[in-house]
Amino acid sequence: MSGWLMVLGACYVAALVYATLDARRRVKSADDYVMAGSKIGAIFGFLTFSATLFSTFTLLGMPDFYRTHGIGAWIFLAVADAAMAFVLIWFALHLRRRARAEGFQGMAGLLVKCYRNRWAGYIYLLGVFIFLVPYVAVQIRGIGIFMNAAFPDTLPVWAWALAIVTAMLVYSEIGGLKAIIYADSLQGCVLFMVTGVIAYGCIANFGSVANLFAEVRESNAALLSVPGPQGLFSLQFLFASFLVILAVPITQPQLSTRIVILRDLATANQMAIGVGFFAVLLSLMIIPIGMYGAIQYPKAPTTEFLAQTIIYDQAPIVAAAAAIGLIAAAMSTADSQIFALGTELRSLLNGNEQRKLRITKLAIVFFAGAGLLVAVTSNDQLVLLARVSFAGTAILAPMILSAVLGAQRPAMPIVIATAIGLLVFLASTVGVLPERVAGLRVDLWILGGLSLVAALGAMLRREPPLRPAA
């Protein structure tokens, strides 16, 4: 397999270098560098959005989720993502209107303009920093532990993580967002094809889908229904997860930026449909990989199950492509998030463009370093760490929606309430406050409370209108 790994790895690196240099050639201004020229078409749009959305946790975390907790994982991810595509259509219309009216350099900057208060931008930036850095770490650590398990005699986890972060930084710093979009498109295609080939192999091993599920029924029937063998997929867990996944394109800057930089609204609509189908088809292909693991490696540790299923049980060329695909998946999500954090910081800066760009580039290096640090020190619960990240950023949704949807300047209490909500969620996550209050998850309490504050603010506010949305 190492021969194939070198051949495919060389092809991948060559494509990445070509894409980076081509992007570099096309960058003529700071706006080109940070916003990719804001004329992205539907194909690149849906590929970069999908590759950014789906990451290491899709191909490493989700099969393990199916193997351990059963078919409720489909509702957790695929149903929520399909509904998210619908939310994307609605949110894109309103965000693009507001962005045209106020100007858009990043969500933090847009919030400052809408609230006419810098604290709205600071709290947004703080929120995404706190919760996106762990998500970046999920990608980096996920691929690090997998590569370490699959190729134990090569590099330790931290060295794989460092190599990936360095590669991301090189092409992000050289080619800006356009290089990231090209790389994402390449990575999205690789991820999709590799997952398809592995899924086909897992089904072929049992002859048919029906045989695969019949075997699972024999070995552990609890996997075939909710809440699963360990009771994880309760109604409350699935509903809270559904809400936070719906909020992902609203709250996560790497996705909201991609909505704004598309050529026009029709392109945004086409992108949303593409993302929805990509999500559902990719999720369909993950199911047999997880079920295969439930039959063949029911008791194995996560890393052993993944290394066996994705590498050792595959033909050498497929295993090599899978390793490349996994690295690509990790990079495509983490690079976008790190770059988006830099973009958000830039949208809060004043001064000339050269200075702002210099600070942005330094900030990207800082955010990458923070992600690397958390990656090296965090635990191996990839999906649950990702869910905390989704839930944390979802807390920002009412504050953002108040700014994007409202005709008037939104009221400041929602900004203050959001800051309190972030603190409470953080305290709950680290165990200072309980995870549930009166039987209900804390994230549901916070989202409900903030939605109420936002609704009351919109009803009671009597302010001059914001600039009319075109």
Binding site: W74, I89, F242
Partner: protein, 65 residues
């Protein structure tokens, strides 16, 4: 309605695995249909939005007229 059905006891029936459809357990095949229903809804919403919304910039208006 799709959201309500997704989280209703008809879909999230604890421990229920039959009837099977094409070898898939009950909650899985129902949820797969739900996901595709959301996608159809997305296509309908996109086509309505594209038909009803005005061009985003004046250049686009000129190009279209």
């Amino acid at each position: 309605m799709l959201c309500v059905f997704t989280f209703s006891p008809w879909n999230l029936a604890p421990g229920r695995i039959s009837p099977f459809l094409l070898g898939l357990p009950y909650t899985l095949w129902v949820s797969i249909l739900l996901a595709f229903a959301f996608l159809i809804l997305t296509i309908v919403a996109a086509s309505i939005r594209s038909r009803n919304s005005e061009p985003e910039d004046p250049d686009e208006t000129e190009n279209r007229s």
